[in-house]
């Protein structure tokens, strides 16, 4: 049976080379990097090697600026809360956008419950932050500007260098959530003027169980997981050596192959959207048009008059793995925040489907997905009382500039 994986945003398979590189670190080299013996020192050397790989890929000034956490979420928590606790004597105001990943949004919300304040600058209908809105939000109390590089739902690529410039002018610590970008988009922490930047290797063919936080030497940060003095005292807990080894290699490979991977993805992305928009009526694209302002792997669409979970389940039954920002799919029954803040009509948010391509998807797979998805939409519309109402002219389409 055909299987097409189009949910690379949620996780990717570990590359064969990466897998091979990890294997010795389970049963053969199993030392704790804090230990002062051959096993431990070997682990320490592996940590440092991985730091170098990440450091080079993101043009960090030195490998010591690379800190390991357990996942992108934890890296984001560390960046946001760690800055807040380190700089609270200077001020308690944080600027972020309304379209941050929940790991940033909910970290800030937690800090607000502890007496910090935050300004959330709006994004426009394609998800873009206007850097000038950030500038306007700055107060003498501002200690952190936190934004994402590419949006995890709709792939919008933010003008991070411009935001970084504003942060630099105002001497405010700047954190970039690159958990969905690293491995796909070029990252130069110095050009971005990032004080902090997070990565998540399992999104670029590395393993789960490791996240990375780049921390500029000058950035102030407090630890949020307390205990031993691992990671230069910024993150306690025994380091996950196999995942760190694998993550470093995945980063190196992703960076080496980035342009090849991305140019292929761009073709697949265009083909997928072309196919879907031609075969399916009343479907809209969420986020920027495919091109330089959109993550090359992401395609976020809404099919009108039907709901997302059903689409997901039928896709799965057809061997196609996709995601959805629909509230029915989420365990907390909330639609994806991004869809709300770009002002998407709530019924379109319900019909949301997120395709994320990977480097190994093929043209044939795209063809299969387009034709299968068209059938799925058709089938669910046959079941839908909204579609019926629309056909009878009782309701009209809410897709702006209604297609067909």
């Amino acid at each position: 049976m055909i299987k097409v994986y189009l949910d690379h945003q949620s996780s990717t398979p570990v590359l064969p080379q990466v897998y091979e590189a990890m294997l010795p670190w389970f049963s053969e080299y199993y030392g704790n990097a804090s230990a002062l013996h051959e096993q431990g020192l070997r682990a320490r050397a592996a940590l440092n090697q991985s730091r170098k790989q990440f450091s080079e890929a993101i043009h960090s000034p030195d490998p010591e600026s690379i800190l390991f956490t357990s996942c992108g979420t934890e890296a984001n928590n560390l960046a946001v809360k760690g800055t807040a606790y380190a700089l609270q004597h200077k001020g308690k105001h944080i600027i972020l956008s309304t379209a941050e990943h929940p790991s940033v949004e909910n970290s800030v919300a937690f800090l607000e419950r502890q007496g910090f304040t935050a300004t959330r600058v709006s994004v426009n209908s394609e998800g873009f932050i206007n850097p000038e809105d950030i500038r306007a939000a700055i107060t003498p109390e501002t200690i952190l500007i936190a934004t994402h590089y590419a949006n995890h739902d709709i792939g919008t690529i933010q003008p991070v260098a411009q935001i970084g410039e504003i942060a630099r002018e105002h001497k405010i610590q700047f954190f970039v959530d690159a958990a969905f970008s690293a491995g796909w988009l070029p990252i130069n922490v110095q050009e971005m003027n990032a004080s902090l930047l997070s990565l998540s290797p399992h999104r670029f063919y590395g393993p789960k169980g490791v996240g990375v936080l780049y921390k500029n030497r000058k950035a102030r940060l407090s630890s949020i997981i307390h205990g031993g003095i691992q990671e230069n005292n910024f993150r306690s807990g025994t380091e996950n050596i196999p995942a760190i080894v694998g993550g470093g290699l995945a980063m190196e490979l992703a960076e080496n192959e980035r342009e090849t991977r991305v140019s292929r993805l761009r073709v697949l992305q265009e083909k997928l959207w072309k196919g879907l928009s031609e075969q399916i009526s009343y479907i809209c694209l969420n986020g920027p048009v495919p091109g330089e302002n959109r993550h090359p792997a992401n395609l976020n669409v809404s099919t009108e008059f039907i709901e997302g979970e059903g689409q997901l389940l039928l896709c799965n039954a057809a061997g196609i793995a996709v995601a959805s920002g629909s509230s029915c799919v989420s365990k907390n029954l909330k639609s994806s925040l991004t869809l709300t803040v770009i002002g998407l009509d709530i019924t379109l948010a319900q019909g949301n489907i997120i395709f994320t391509l990977g480097k190994d998807n093929t043209f044939e797979e795209i063809d299969y997905v387009v034709s299968s998805f068209a059938k799925i939409v058709e089938r669910l519309r046959q079941m839908s009382p909204m579609w019926e109402a629309f056909q009878k002219g009782n309701i009209s389409s809410v897709i702006p500039g209604n297609p067909k």
Binding site: M1, I2, F305, I306, E307, G308, E309, G310, L313, L314, N316, A317, A318, G319, S326, S327, C328, V329, K331, L333, I346, T347, Q350, S372, K375, I376, R379, Q382, M383, S384, P385, M386, W387, E388
Partner: protein, 151 residues
């Protein structure tokens, strides 16, 4: 549809729903509309994620001779409405009014906790369709009143 492969779908542990629910989702019973329905109920809102419409054919002796559904909603909403129509088919109005969301959940072999509201919606859609029938047939109003009284 040919491309829905059951070997995947049916391995319970890799499904969010049990095999009965999956079966009703993938092979819904009584999907569609009824020409000349005697009662139609539509409940829910797209904003909340689910809309269910149930159409009933009710014979003169007060028996539900046929039932159809249309649903905008997640897998469990579709399965719940499919099952609800199965449950009321052949029942009298009195009996059908007694069908609860719990009956639907039980008949489906259970739903995940966060999806119980789908079965509630199915119960409401059945009630709404019967209400509609009663409205059109005021002579049967006593039945509904009796039931409302009990509730």
């Amino acid at each position: 549809m040919r491309f829905f492969h059951t070997e995947n779908i049916m391995a319970e542990e890799y499904n969010p729903y049990n095999p009965i629910v999956m079966d009703h989702f993938l092979n819904p019973r009584n999907m569609g509309d009824l020409e000349d329905a005697d009662g139609i109920g539509e409940v829910g809102a797209a904003a909340c994620g689910d809309i269910m419409k149930i159409s009933l054919k009710i014979s003169d002796d007060g028996k539900i001779s046929d039932a159809r559904f249309k649903t905008f909603g997640c897998g469990s909403a579709i399965a719940s409405s499919s099952m609800a129509t199965e449950l009321v088919k052949g029942k009298t109005i009195e009996e059908a009014l007694k069908v609860t969301n719990k009956n639907v959940v039980d008949a489906l072999g259970g739903l995940p906790p966060v999806k119980i509201h789908c079965s509630v919606l199915a119960e409401e859609a059945i009630k709404a369709a019967l209400d509609d029938y009663i409205k059109r047939h005021p002579e049967k109003a006593a039945l509904v009143a009796a039931n409302n009284h009990k509730a």
